[in-house]
């Protein structure tokens, strides 16, 4: 930036000098002084060009980046913006993270060359090797492992660091080579995506778009912070701020934490104990029934299992309806009164009654939840329960309503590079990959959610990890993951493609230097209330020995004799064009390829204004049945009853056929004398999961902190800014204390995604403040998903 800085300085000197004159009274030439000729400017030099690119990280805003480039160096990062855009003009404006890309792309810690591990796994000691040596090693190891253990032993780990239409090329390569063990699901919404489609059909996983709530009278937001999870200028950050301003609805935030979404409107915060949403819902449901505020006609027409009238044959006459659960005539035989729920939830009984009256009368009612309530050991039941509120009062499929799930998005269908067919039929829940490394042959459909086959025939012997940090940092129980991955007799070979030496990369045998998507041709679609797509070109030439994944895999495919199959003779750019043309054939309104390459960013407003989930089903349930077994919304699920009977479940593994409140696992959810506090994660504005976790200027103003209520901090002698140690049976972390009334007493909160920083061959104390040093590896009962918000701990001054 030397010449830029210089020119700006001379500019400042010129304007400042005359400005000083002006202040002293000699103002004659002041106008000219500021904007006069001959003043050098940083961003108006003729050789500067701008290049469109996009964020590719799992936000998933994937906002527009406009690179100002001179001399093959990025000078600054602009975005899709204009001086006068208000709420009438959505623009995918990059958030604080996108605006700091220069600090990441030019970081001295960036991976620039292929590396081979020379220390133990997890130590982070590597040596530089050539691309030829790296690819030859990978090719020979892949051949050896496939020959010795079969294709089922090759695992492509769950990874979300990069998305684009040509980003997922590893499955394609492996399918050319006979297949691989796939993981299903994710670490984002595993409990919900396993449960909701079973009971609401495939269209029910996402709710209405946020702008549908403009027409609502009451908005209930359970465990969601739309402004923090997707921070861009045309996704939920913008959509939520606009909604807040436009709607006349009362908003109630139900959350253990006064999130940034509720800042400025704290009166709307309803503090609750984490993981107890189902109990609050049950008590509201109890009051709705008691006061005859339910929409019985809706429940009879559109749902099964609210009461005996619509119970399926297999469960009739057994007091197994949801109403039986609420009123205490079935299941645990406890009436779910507000007095029952108050000590569980921390919400006063009177407040619950008031809430029930509001829910009972509000039309339209818009219920939305984030993915916090489901990322728990009781997550399946907890997230499902929240979806009961709109059902009980018939507030589904109508203007101003949703279905209690996370907000939906309006998006453009952009085709991605085809993966081909995977000859290996077995797949595992992504969260169980360390179990499959340890001893995959113990894993079955009934004890570990193996799909596509009754059991695994082989353990994982090789992991290929492209742009992901789930080997350790984002996985549960990092100390255990370390022990499993550090044992080279188990997983024999690990390859990681990365831009930075993440904690997961430290476990690689070979690390390959990746290009950002904005350093290669790339295209992506995203959206919130508004849809958009971005076509990007490389902002600079590749620096050092960094290469695109596509080119790297094409070289690897050549070594393995499948180059033609893998590339079909096409470059990445040619794939992007072909995939785009295929998308355009289905959506002729899309601009031509030449045009989109030229304009970079294309936006489309939802032609229907907003999307209302279950609109067609509500209008005509006979003509538009759901994909559930009954074709209706299932409040009692026979499928879940069958799963609960058939599966091998552990203690506290609750899979009920109706959405009951269950406290979760004893070891992660019930505070003890040793670990009296609950500990929950949340999404942090300074990172997306662990991405950007190494960027200095972001860390500087977004410190990794433990939110602790003054009533919990005081007896522990903890003051704001102190270094505290958080400890439980899984591990120890250290971070700074944020003493704040924005979190409920008895619960501490820690933003997830901080970079694990521990000497794994020493004391293992994580001084990076990564919550997964404290989380369990035990999966939730049904989805076998990550219960990473279910934690208990003790906190001390370090």
């Amino acid at each position: 930036m030397a010449d830029t800085t210089l020119s700006r300085r001379s500019f400042l000197r010129a304007s400042g000098a005359l400005g000083g004159l002006a202040a002293a009274g000699g103002a004659a030439a002041a106008t000219d002084s500021l904007f006069g000729a001959g003043v050098a400017r940083a961003d108006a030099q003729p050789e500067e060009r701008t290049v469109w690119g996009h964020c590719a990280i799992n936000c998933p805003g994937r906002c527009a980046l406009k690179f100002h480039v001179r001399d093959d160096e990025v000078r600054w990062v602009d975005t899709c913006t204009s001086p006068n855009a208000d709420f009438d003009e959505p623009q995918p404006r990059a958030c604080l993270r996108g605006r700091t890309y220069r600090r990441w792309m030019n970081s001295p810690d960036r991976v620039n060359y292929p590396l081979r591990r020379v220390g133990k796994r997890g130590e982070g000691r590597f040596e530089r090797i050539s691309w030829d040596e790296a690819l030859d090693t990978i090719a020979s190891e892949l051949r050896r492992i496939i020959d010795a253990y079969g294709n089922e032993s090759i695992y492509l780990s769950y990874a979300t660091g990069v998305s684009a239409t040509t980003a997922r090329t590893l499955p394609r390569l492996m399918n050319c080579l006979g297949g691989y063990l796939a993981g299903y699901g994710d670490y984002s919404a595993m409990q919900m995506q396993r449960t909701i489609p079973l009971v609401q059909g495939m269209t029910g996983f996402y709710g209405s778009t946020l702008n549908a709530a403009e027409d609502a009278e009451l908005i209930l937001a359970f465990g969601t912070s739309p402004v923090e999870t997707r921070q861009g200028g045309a996704v939920s950050h913008y959509d939520w701020v606009r909604l807040r301003e436009r709607t006349k609805a009362r908003i109630i935030y139900i959350d253990p934490r006064l999130s940034d979404s509720a800042m400025g409107r704290s009166g709307e915060w309803l503090p609750i104990n984490p993981g107890t949403d189902a109990a609050l819902v049950a008590a509201i449901g109890h009051e709705l029934v008691r006061n005859d505020l339910i929409d019985k006609e809706f429940l009879d027409t559109y749902c099964v299992g609210f009461d005996e009238d619509t119970m399926p044959e297999s469960a009739r006459g057994q007091n197994r309806s949801y109403k039986d659960y609420l009123m205490g005539t079935g299941y645990d035989k406890v009436a779910k009164t507000p007095e029952w729920a108050a000590p569980i939830t921390g919400v006063p009984a009177e407040r619950i009654r008031e809430l029930a009256a509001q829910v009972g009368s509000a039309k339209p009612l818009f219920v939305v939840q984030g993915w916090g309530p489901q990322r728990r050991s009781n997550g399946e039941m907890n997230c499902w329960a929240i979806t009961m509120l709109p059902l009980l009062t018939g507030q589904v499929g109508l203007p101003g309503t949703s279905n209690g799930c996370r907000e939906g998005t309006y998006s453009l269908g952009l085709r991605s590079i085809p993966a081909g067919d995977n000859p290996v039929k077995a797949s595992i829940p992504v969260f169980l990959f360390t179990d499959a490394v340890e001893d995959g042959r113990r894993m079955t459909a009934l004890n570990a959610g193996v799909q596509g086959a009754p059991k695994l025939d082989q353990s994982i012997k090789c992991i290929l990890n492209y742009a992901g940090n789930c080997l350790t940092n984002q996985h549960g129980n990092i100390n255990r993951a370390h022990d499993i991955l550090a044992d080279e007799s188990k997983c024999e070979f690990i390859v990681v493609w990365e831009t930075a030496l993440t904690d997961s990369a430290k476990y690689a045998d070979i690390v390959l230097p990746d290009l950002f998507r904005f350093e290669q041709p790339s295209m992506i679609a995203a959206g919130g209330d508004t849809a958009y797509l971005i076509a990007g070109q490389p902002c600079t030439t590749p620096k050092f020995e960094r290469r695109s994944l596509y080119d790297c895999l094409a070289d690897l495919a050549r070594r393995l004799g499948v180059e033609e199959q893998f590339t079909e003779g096409k470059t990445q750019q040619e794939w992007i064009e072909e995939l785009y043309e295929q998308s355009r054939a289905k959506d002729p309104e899309l601009p031509s390829y030449a045009q989109i390459q030229n304009q970079g960013v294309y936006l489309r407003t939802n032609p229907r204004g907003c999307t209302i989930v279950h609109e067609a089903f509500r209008a005509d349930p006979e003509a538009n049945p759901l994909t559930t077994p009954s074709g209706k919304i299932e409040i009692y699920s026979e499928t879940l009853a069958q799963i609960a009977d058939a599966w091998e479940l552990g203690p506290d593994d609750v899979i009920a056929p109706v959405p009951v409140y269950t406290p979760g696992f004893a070891e992660t959810d019930i505070p003890t004398e040793s670990y009296p506090l609950r500990c929950s994660g949340f999404h942090y504005r300074g990172r997306v999961h662990s991405s950007w976790g190494g960027v200095d200027v972001l860390k500087e103003v977004n410190p990794q902190e433990l939110w602790i209520n003054p009533s919990d901090a005081r007896p522990r002698g903890i003051a704001a800014g102190d270094v505290v140690r958080v400890e439980n049976d899984f591990g120890k972390v250290e971070l700074l204390a944020k003493v704040t009334p924005r979190v409920v007493p008895g619960t501490v909160c820690m933003a997830q995604g901080a970079w694990h920083d521990a000497d794994m061959y020493g004391d293992r104390v994580d001084r990076g403040g990564c919550i997964n040093t404290l989380t369990t590896h035990r999966p939730s009962p049904l989805a076998k998903g990550n219960p990473q918000h279910s934690n208990i701990c003790e906190v001390k001054k370090a």
């Binding site: 000083g20 200028g233 108050a342």
Partner: protein, 206 residues
């Protein structure tokens, strides 16, 4: 002649800091330097009552602020070398690095903490309102960056129509320097000078 001002919509701001980091990128500021900052004000309490349920009086709101290019800038008043000046035409306050000796009076005098002394450069540095962008009919980088559309920039007259003179905590009362900053406060916002409305995120403010 147009004197410019910022507008801050406290009902929209979510405290995300995109403004601050876009500014740092554009002005090429490294660690320890920032021309815009975002305060978190939090007050009240959230307690567990005898029956185990929660009660909260908590209020919390963000405030984003840079140099306010004041009508009566304290930094200009105290500058012994006349390096700090308010441009007659635009009202933007800037430092003449050639004249500045880095004494730091401006940093001490400004009630908003806008100027800072850059020890390496030996002079004061601060937000210049992105004067060169304004000349080209663009707005300051922070304004055009805001995903929540909480910042704006325009003539003092236009911005005044959209908000009160900056008089929310933790900012000082506007009478001190007559800042070119107009604010639409959030529901939680407290008046300037309210001693309970403390900045609770000192670690996040450069």
């Amino acid at each position: 002649m147009t004197h410019y001002a910022f507008h801050f919509d406290g009902s929209r701001c979510t405290g995300c800091k995109t403004c601050a980091l876009a500014c740092k990128d554009y002005h090429d500021l490294g660690l320890g330097a920032a021309f815009r900052k975002v305060y978190e004000v939090t007050l009240g309490d959230t307690t567990r009552q005898a029956d185990g349920t929660f009660a909260s009086t908590c209020a919390s709101y963000p405030v984003s602020v840079a140099c306010n290019h004041c009508a009566d800038p304290a930094c200009v008043r105290v500058c012994p070398t006349r390096a700090m000046g308010k441009d007659e035409a635009t009202g933007l306050v800037a430092v003449d690095e050639g004249r500045c000796v880095g004494c730091g009076y401006c940093a001490m005098a400004c009630p908003y903490g806008a100027p800072k002394v850059d020890r390496e450069r030996g002079c004061s540095v601060k937000c210049d309102g992105c004067a060169e962008r304004v000349e080209r009919d663009l707005k300051p980088v922070c304004v055009e960056a805001c995903p929540a559309r909480a910042l704006d920039f325009g003539s003092v007259e236009a911005m005044r129509k959209r908000g009160d003179h900056a008089s929310i905590a933790p900012l000082p009362p506007p009478a001190h320097t007559r800042p070119s900053l107009f604010v639409k406060p959030s529901a939680d916002a407290r008046p300037a000078g309210d001693p309970a409305a403390a900045v609770v995120n000192p670690l996040e403010v450069i």
